[in-house]
Amino acid sequence: MPAQSQKTLLKRDAPSARELAAEIAEAARFTRKHAIASIYHAGSGHPGGAMSSADIMACLFGAELNFWSDAINDPDRDRFVLSKGHGAPALYAIAAHHGFCDARAALNLRKLGSPFQGHPHVLDLPWVETSTGSLGQGFSVALGMAMGLKLQKNPARVYTLLGDGELQEGEVWEAAMCAAHHKLDNLCVVIDYNKLQSDDRNDAIMRLEPLAAKWRAFDWAVAEINGHDIDEILSAFRRAGASHGRPSVIIAHTIKGKGVPYMENIPHWHGSVKLTHAQAEEALTALGAGRNEIKELLDVGDR
């Protein structure tokens, strides 16, 4: 967990690039392991899209968002909206890693009475910026935030993570057109382009290609990167931050299930799935957890 505890513009206070990348890689591993453990305990949830987004989330929370966990009410904080709300386990895990919530509490995913609902809910967790779960809406809400911040001359930036399947929602193109029209250069969309959605590959369900051309035609600044390469992610954010007069989209090529070999690129692991103890154990092992850590992660809770 970062040492700073007052609100800090990370971009200024960052350690050396190499140290930062190592910190982020560690945070991403933590995110994947905790997401898997929480889905195991929940008995349901979407692991594939949590794994594919872990590196992006780790970069966002570890370096890009301008605040630490004690500044969640600061009006000048950057905003992050998880538009692909079913990716909640990754959000809860990275937030736990950075001290926004208790890591063991976050394992109570989807449980009655726990604030860690299946989809993030703004009234349950103070650092969740808006409720999501219905695809397309988070992007529009983020757009509204970006518009409102600009109106109030607040320099904060707004980030939102979308799934690739989510891009089939018309609301996404309404928002894309609107953000470009209003020149919301304080808005940055990241697409977790893992090529899979609920039932199958995007190509089989509803073709998205040529995807970068679509965003360009909607007048966005477009970057295409490897969504598992921390340097590429960070530099894409830097370029997005420098965009003038245009919103930015980062098309992050990812692998659904990344880090858990038996899940990688297999549509079935989109979710909502029930992980057996053996499956969870195998996943955690692949993610580098030792025997003690596995025991600790899987033996809390009722199951």
Binding site: Q137, S140, G144, E174
Partner: protein, 323 residues
């Protein structure tokens, strides 16, 4: 200069429609509510917010013909401390209802939805544009307040009230010239019905354009020796159950009247409330589960059974059913 050099007469910018009253009120309140921003989906001339666009252009936000994005974006605007008022036609609010549900109601945002062009009052645009479902649909969303004021005076008061109120609100205006029902000293409180004419044989509970028709019906009934009470139930949700129970007690029968499907709107709200407190015979005036058509609002009201004589007849049926 040719006759046509004049600007065309925009239909329904008639000074006395509910939407005009709303649009003007909103402009007038802008300085008092500095966080207020108004969202439009390319029909400001239809919803009345062209007044606000003119008076406060920097706080007038244009979303184009894209109601879903506009509705959810209101959630984001509210999240960063602004007070968004989403405006479009009622039927296009329905198009964005899931956004209103998740990004406004579920998130408990302090955002307002104001819908013009409800019901048969839409007139010549026809059935496709006449929303007969919005009161029912928005009433079903947990925590959503639903309001339908009766005349321009009340509309102005209600506009202030929803801005002062904390939480998501759905409010209907109206397209056509509206009868003036209330005097200058009228007051409005969210959640409170009001007896606008007293009577003892039956209570007519109405909202929106039906309030003036209900008052007319009461006069017709008086001529037949029937004493009808009229309640202006401008807040459909939360419904004023206390007042309803009292009216049921005192008059023993009820008629509901609304420019909406008979299912699920004001009639539904009154039926639910009275069944839970003081069951009594109710007759329902509204559109009987069919779509409207093109025509002038008054013609349509006659055809679909929403006029004063219809209400008066229903009142007699209700009275006849008293135990």
């Amino acid at each position: 200069m040719s006759a046509t050099a004049e600007a065309p007469a925009l239909i329904g910018t008639s000074g006395d429609s509910l939407r005009e009253a709303f649009g003007k009120a909103l402009s007038g309140l802008a300085d008092e509510f500095p966080k207020l921003v108004v969202l439009d989906a390319d029909i400001a001339g239809g919803t009345g917010v062209h007044h606000f666009r003119k008076s406060h252009p920097a706080r007038f936000l244009q979303f184009g013909i894209a109601e879903q994005n506009m509705m959810a974006a209101a959630g984001g605007l509210a999240a960063v401390g602004l007070l968004p008022v989403v405006t479009t036609f009622a039927v296009f609010c329905l198009r964005a209802i899931e956004q209103a549900r998740l990004s406004l109601a579920y998130a408990k945002r302090n955002a307002k939805i104001v819908a013009s062009h409800p019901g048969l009052d839409v007139g010549p645009d026809g059935g496709s544009a006449q929303s007969l479902e919005d009161l029912a649909a928005f009433r079903a969303i947990p925590g959503m307040t639903v309001i339908s004021p009766a005349d321009p005076v009340e509309m102005a008061l209600a506009t202030r009230a929803i801005l002062e109120f904390e939480g998501p609100v759905y409010m209907r205006t109206g397209r056509s010239p509206a009868m003036r029902v209330f005097g200058d000293h009228h007051t409005f409180e969210i959640g409170k019905g009001k007896i606008v004419r007293d009577g003892s044989d039956v209570t007519i509970v109405a909202c929106g354009v039906e309030v003036s028709r209900a008052l007319e019906a009461a006069k017709l009934l008086e001529q037949d020796g029937v004493s009808a009470r009229v309640v202006n139930m401008a807040t459909i949700k939360p419904i004023d159950s206390e007042l309803l129970a009292r009216c049921a007690d005192e008059t023993g029968s009820v008629v509901t009247a609304e420019d909406h499907n008979i299912h699920g709107g004001l009639g539904g709200a009154v039926a639910e409330s009275l069944a839970a407190t003081r069951p009594c015979p109710i007759e329902f005036i509204g559109v009987k589960d069919v779509f409207g058509a093109s025509g002038e609002p008054e013609e349509l009201a006659t055809l679909y059974g929403l006029t004063a004589p219809h209400i008066a007849k229903a009142a007699k049926r209700a009275i006849a059913r008293k135990g």
